[in-house]
């Protein structure tokens, strides 16, 4: 807890520190490659009768939005005088982003990753190691993201004086959800000005996948006060909600406490955390960022889910229609957007957050799609 208070104070100073902010901007531009484009998906739009744009976070350095937060927190850690960074990772995108940021900023990096996830996201394990990070396999529990977070927290409380825990999503105890959201909000700031300049108006819909919820909050945050912009978060439906094998917290969970956060949690009657299932490692987590619960209660964001099968077919669809191979996580957003597009009257303006690229998923795809 004292470390959380220290972090909160340091972050307040960091936000006001002009040279830090200037350095962050510079790194966003030169290292990450921001702004990422807002791409008009022409063939997809034609096929559905809507106007669909993709916010191309897959084009950000290391291949996903995760780098926005990793660079931000990396700078913050240096600002705090910490020399060692630990992180958890599910799909490996946050791990890769953290490893890259640490390499760039000269920080020691240890990444905890569930054994199951290491298997299904092999390419990212290799990338992290190439970037100089130590990847520690986590063999406890369901051997996925939840357990990687457990191990990272255990490491953090053991090495608290030297180490900054770089949480990868809008999760964990305060001030983490706020810090991560702030670093990801650049997505929505860019998207808002990009859509205004290309279409001269705000979008009708924003669609993003929700694991912990950082890419969605990143896109949505700047539009929260634009009441006409509808926002949809897509959770992992796994084998379907009725199967019980999914990671749709709002469909199958209830309020609970996990990893220092009170939020919606998938759990049994006693409060034991249940094992989740999703084809995408990045969405395979039994809880969700607390801000999502708040925004859902306000009625500001609607939450739905897409199954493994729907995500797989969207994965293929986007690859073949637009020449963009999405991350399996982002494919959930594409899947729901396609469903939505069919129901809506024509010419609605839709932005999908393409949170990451699918290279990491290719070995698994090879099994599933029989390429």
């Amino acid at each position: 807890m004292p470390s959380l208070l220290e972090l909160e104070k340091a972050y307040e100073r960091f936000k006001k520190n002009e040279s830090m902010q200037a350095e962050l901007k510079k790194l966003q531009r030169d290292f990450i490659g921001r702004p990422t484009s807002l791409y008009f998906a022409e063939r997809m739009s034609k096929a559905t009768g809507q106007k669909i744009y993709l916010k191309r976070e897959d084009l950000a350095h290391t291949g996903a939005h995760k780098i926005n937060n990793a660079i931000g927190q990396g700078l913050l850690a240096k600002f705090m005088g910490k020399s060692r960074i630990i992180a958890e990772t599910g799909a490996g995108q946050h791990g890769v982003a953290t490893a890259a940021a640490c390499a760039k900023l000269g920080l020691e990096c240890v990444v905890y990753m569930g054994e199951v996830d290491m298997e299904r996201q092999q390419p990212n394990v290799i990338r992290m190691r190439l970037l100089g990070a130590k990847v520690v396999p986590v063999t406890s529990g369901s051997r996925t993201l939840k357990d990687a977070i457990n191990e990272a927290i255990r490491d953090w409380i053991t090495n608290i004086e030297t180490t900054h825990y770089m949480i990868g999503s809008v999760l964990g105890p305060h001030p983490y959800p706020t810090i991560v959201r702030d670093f990801q909000a650049v997505i929505g700031r860019e998207a808002r000005s990009q859509i205004l300049s290309s279409e001269g108006r705000l979008p009708d819909y924003l669609v993003a996948c929700v694991g912990g919820g950082s890419n969605s909050v990143g896109l949505f945050h700047q539009f929260i006060n634009d009441s006409k912009v509808k926002m949809i978060g897509v959770e992992a439906g796994g084998y379907g909600i009725r199967s019980g094998k999914h990671a749709a917290r709002f469909a199958g969970g209830r309020e609970g406490i996990l990893h220092g956060t009170k939020s919606f949690v998938l759990q049994n009657a006693d409060g034991q955390i249940t094992e989740t299932h999703s084809i995408s490692a990045g969405l395979d987590y039994p809880s969700i960022g607390p801000e999502h619960v708040f925004l859902r209660e306000l009625g500001r964001i609607k939450y739905v889910s897409a199954t493994d099968e729907e995500a797989l077919s969207a994965f293929r669809y986007l690859s073949e229609t637009e020449g963009i191979i999405p991350a399996l996580e982002s494919a959930h957003a594409v899947a729901y957007a396609l469903k939505l597009a069919k129901k809506l009257p024509n010419k609605k303006l839709i932005i999908i957050n393409l949170s990451g690229r699918g290279d990491k998923d290719l070995p698994e795809m090879e099994k599933g799609l029989k390429i």
Partner: protein
Amino acid sequence: MNRIETAFTHIKKEGKLAMMPFLVAGFPNFSQSLKILKVLSQHSDLLEIGFPYSDPLADGPVIQKADQVALKAGSTTSKVFELIKNLRLTTEIPITVLVYANLVYQRGIEKFYRDARNAGIDGVLIPDVPFEEISIFLKAAKKYNIDNIYLIATTTTPRRLNKITKVAQGYLYLTSVVGITGTQKDIPRKTLQYIKQIKRQTRLPIAVGFGISNLSQVKKLKINGADGVIIGSSLIKLIQKSNTNNPQTLINFLKNLNY
């Protein structure tokens, strides 16, 4: 005086260090767990019993594994209360429980403490609730006359410790290392110095846990002013290894740590 106070007063008079074994309820299964606890209650000064949890953040691999075994064997929150109720019929030893926040929250905070009272539990420690968030739990604890046990570490600042000692009851649970449970060989010098520092701030007994496994650690703690030692992982390891119904090995182990 409640059971915890009585026990520590008694121990102090004898000039001893309180022996406080920690076991996971329902490990390796319900009936063996009850049997072991009954035996241990005759050879220790206080029992700490853990509610098994799917995600025990403060625990190392040994207790994690024990939690999983207990859950697989069908342990539930209700069964843990039942177990302790059964145990209470045979002993007046103080019993504290270690339980993660979500289990308390899901049962209903008030109901959890009421059930704890009915089961004969004297103290509750929730390792994943910081001091800043404790008030709703504390309210229920007070209502049912249950001591709220706090975890502290050498990283706890004097200012924070001061706030904690104002509301803490029973004893202070000092972690011997900054980190998680699991066997260690030694006690960091920082921890020993810290005990003296706490003694200046409070009269509450100090029980040291996390990584205690040998007599030389116990001696050092005693000399530096600790009032009790909590033995968890090393005891559980013994149970895993011995794989037998004969609790004599456990008794011998504790006896060897008596100082």
